[in-house]
């Protein structure tokens, strides 16, 4: 078992956490001193810890967009493998797209979350260099999307709900990927996921980069972790195009409104799953637990809905993206009126019960 305590070492502090790093260093020095000289510094250490908690609360309660991106890309942030280990019981991985190969950037398989059997589709980035190379740094190729689709169809056949965990900088831009039709693979996924006859929950656990994230991100619910980001283009890419200078990424991140808070305000994500104090990388267990709790709760709701209604709701949820709130309300009322009218018609057209012969 890898170490799950996720100790934040001196090198793991982000550049805006300078004060937290200082406090960490002071605490370590005190601990070392007390072990060498045998003096009890525990009250001082506790004082410092309190200070650190306050500092973390202060920093993380108002992160800028660019700082959020940095947290989402933190090297110790829990990855798909952590979720699979801690959240999914009895995971059985399914490999291959039956056509070209097996893309390691997308992992699919059957498992159990809570008491529900689910089909998990997730993007994996890899923790160390070797894993990262195998996973192509979390950038899927077309075969990955085709694998996801073929396995989701399998899940549909047996009525198993799908849970997708999104964590990718974007679909891989390479010669091979273009030759094998990256665009077609993603397009097919979008189309099929919008009419898959099982509940789909999409959770953005880290980076949600553009079409690569959307390729497994169409469903009944789209939710994000608190410090994950979800964007149409990487802040660097946007800065390079609109600012003509890649180093303007912080400005681009701000303008793109890619944080969970902004997206919730724009009604583009359905919910935000809270992260523990100081970001997911400071406490993997709590993060995974929060995600699990959300999945179990939401699955209970979605499973109760009839499949046809589920698809109808999903369709109108997608159709209302980018529609102004007033227009959305108008459509809702229209739909409601139609539903009432249909119900009344149904009552009127009901054949009158034939009185029983006496």
């Amino acid at each position: 078992m890898p170490d799950r305590a996720n100790k934040i070492n001196s090198g793991d502090h982000l550049d805006f956490e300078q004060k937290v790093a200082d406090l960490d260093r002071q605490m370590n020095e005190l601990r070392k001193l007390s072990s060498i000289k045998g003096i009890d510094y525990s009250s001082e250490i506790r004082q410092l810890q309190k200070e650190q908690v306050n500092e973390l609360k202060r920093i993380y309660s108002n992160l800028t967009a660019w700082q959020t991106v940095q947290v989402a890309r933190h090297p110790k942030r829990p990855l798909l493998s952590d979720y699979l280990d801690l959240m999914v019981k009895d995971f059985r991985e399914f490999h291959g797209d039956r056509c070209f190969g097996d893309d390691r950037a997308i992992v699919t398989g059957l498992g159990q979350i809570g008491r529900d059997r689910v089909f998990v589709v997730g993007q994996n980035k890899g923790r160390n260099t070797k894993e990262k190379v195998v996973c192509n740094f979390g950038c899927p190729n077309p075969e990955g999307y085709r694998k996801a689709l073929i396995k989701m169809k399998f899940a549909e056949k047996y009525g198993i709900p799908v849970v997708t965990l999104i964590d990718t900088p974007g679909a891989y831009p390479g010669i091979g990927a273009e030759e094998r039709g990256q665009a077609q693979a993603i397009a097919a996924n979008l189309q099929e996921m919008s009419r898959l006859r099982v509940p789909i929950i999409c959770i953005c656990i880290g980076e949600g980069g553009s079409g690569g994230a959307l390729g497994i991100g169409v469903g009944d619910r789209l939710v994000m972790l608190e410090f994950a980001y979800y964007s149409v283009i990487s802040p660097e890419g946007c800065a390079a195009i609109l600012w003509r200078d890649g180093s303007q990424a912080p400005h681009a991140a701000e303008a793109l409104k890619l944080t969970s808070k902004d997206l919730l305000k724009l009604e583009l994500v359905d919910a935000v799953i809270p992260e523990p104090l100081g970001g997911a990388h400071r406490n993997v267990h709590d993060t995974v637990y929060n995600v699990e709790k959300y999945i179990v709760k939401t699955l209970r709701d979605l499973k109760r809905t009839k499949v046809d209604n589920l698809l109808e709701n999903r369709y109108w949820k997608l159709r209302s993206i980018g529609v102004s709130p007033a227009e959305r309300l108008r459509r809702k009322t229209l739909a409601g009126r139609e539903r009432i009218k249909a119900a009344i018609d149904k009552i009127h057209t009901k054949p009158k019960p034939v009185p029983a012969k006496v």
């Binding site: 679909a171 990927a177 030759e179 149409v232 369709y315 997608l318 993206i321």
Partner: protein
């Protein structure tokens, strides 16, 4: 005679390019022939020397394609609400919209409506390359969905001419969501059994290719059109390899099996009419 100094021009200049003298002549970017402009226009904006298809505006394309005056536009005055309040450098997204409205004469990057091609009624959606590079924002997505609804209601075939740089960055995740939205609409249309002909013109990249453009029952491309997911520059920067000749062209896509046929602009009208005839139920 003194030796002529070697030109120091390295093919890249920050100064704005010097425009050709207004009107008469134009240069083909493919074969570098000097062409008489009116001759090119008479030839449907195709180079008479090398068959290079020039980019044309949506209005011109509709003019070339449909029966005379048969195009009835709908939702022509739909405008973006600028959901993010996007600001960049010293300008805003709203300002960009205003500028491009003037430049292209259209209110958004897509025109939809009912039209006739050789007497066959159909729903037509054409993208406008001069409006923010034909990028897909909330309005384009909404218009395309409206076109799909119209096609479903009236049981007519749907023909979409894509010409786009992808999703519109200025609308952030809203424009990303349009990919899902248009694909969902296409799924409905597919379920209802309608014919969807997707025509890819130069350029079709990014979010548009990765959503409705690649979902056609029949996918047609114009010769030499740039078609792909990631832009060629992005790919070259990422993998740091020189890209092969003819990479991401229509011919390349045909060879790799993602396009049904390549049709010249002059044959487009008859070809679409033929397809509609074949696919009648």
């Amino acid at each position: 005679m003194a030796k002529q100094a070697k030109s120091k021009w390295n093919g890249f200049s920050l100064r704005p390019r010097k425009e050709m003298p207004e009107g008469l002549w134009t240069k083909c970017p493919a074969c570098e022939h000097m062409l008489y402009k009116s001759a090119v226009e008479k030839n449907l904006n195709v180079c008479p020397e090398c068959n290079h298809h020039f980019r044309i505006s949506a209005a011109t394309r509709i003019n070339y394609l449909t029966d005379e005056d048969s195009f009835q536009q709908v939702l022509g005055d739909l405008k973006t609400s600028d959901p993010l309040g996007f600001k960049f450098r010293d300008t805003t997204y709203k300002q960009r919209i205003k500028d491009d409205e003037k430049k292209s004469g259209e209110k958004e990057a897509m025109l939809i409506g009912k039209a006739f091609i050789k007497g066959r009624p159909l729903i037509l959606a054409v993208m406008e390359p001069n409006f923010l590079m034909g990028s897909m924002g909330a309005v384009v997505g909404e218009k395309l969905c409206a076109a799909v609804d119209m096609a479903m209601d009236e049981k007519l075939p749907l023909v979409v001419f894509s010409c786009s740089g992808g999703a519109r960055m200025h609308e952030g995740v809203v424009s990303l969501g349009q990919m899902a939205k248009t694909s969902a609409a296409m799924a409905r249309y597919d379920d209802s059994g309608g014919l969807f002909i997707s025509v890819l013109t130069d350029p079709t990249t990014g979010g548009v290719t990765a959503s409705f453009a690649m979902l056609g029952d029949c996918i047609i491309a114009e010769p030499g059109a740039l078609i792909g997911f990631a832009g060629p520059r992005t790919i070259a920067e990422t993998i740091k390899v020189e890209l092969p000749e003819g990479f991401q062209t229509a011919e390349f896509m045909l060879e790799h099996g993602f396009v049904d046929m390549i049709v010249d602009r002059k044959d487009m009208r008859s070809e679409i009419a033929r397809l509609i005839d074949y696919c009648q139920k």
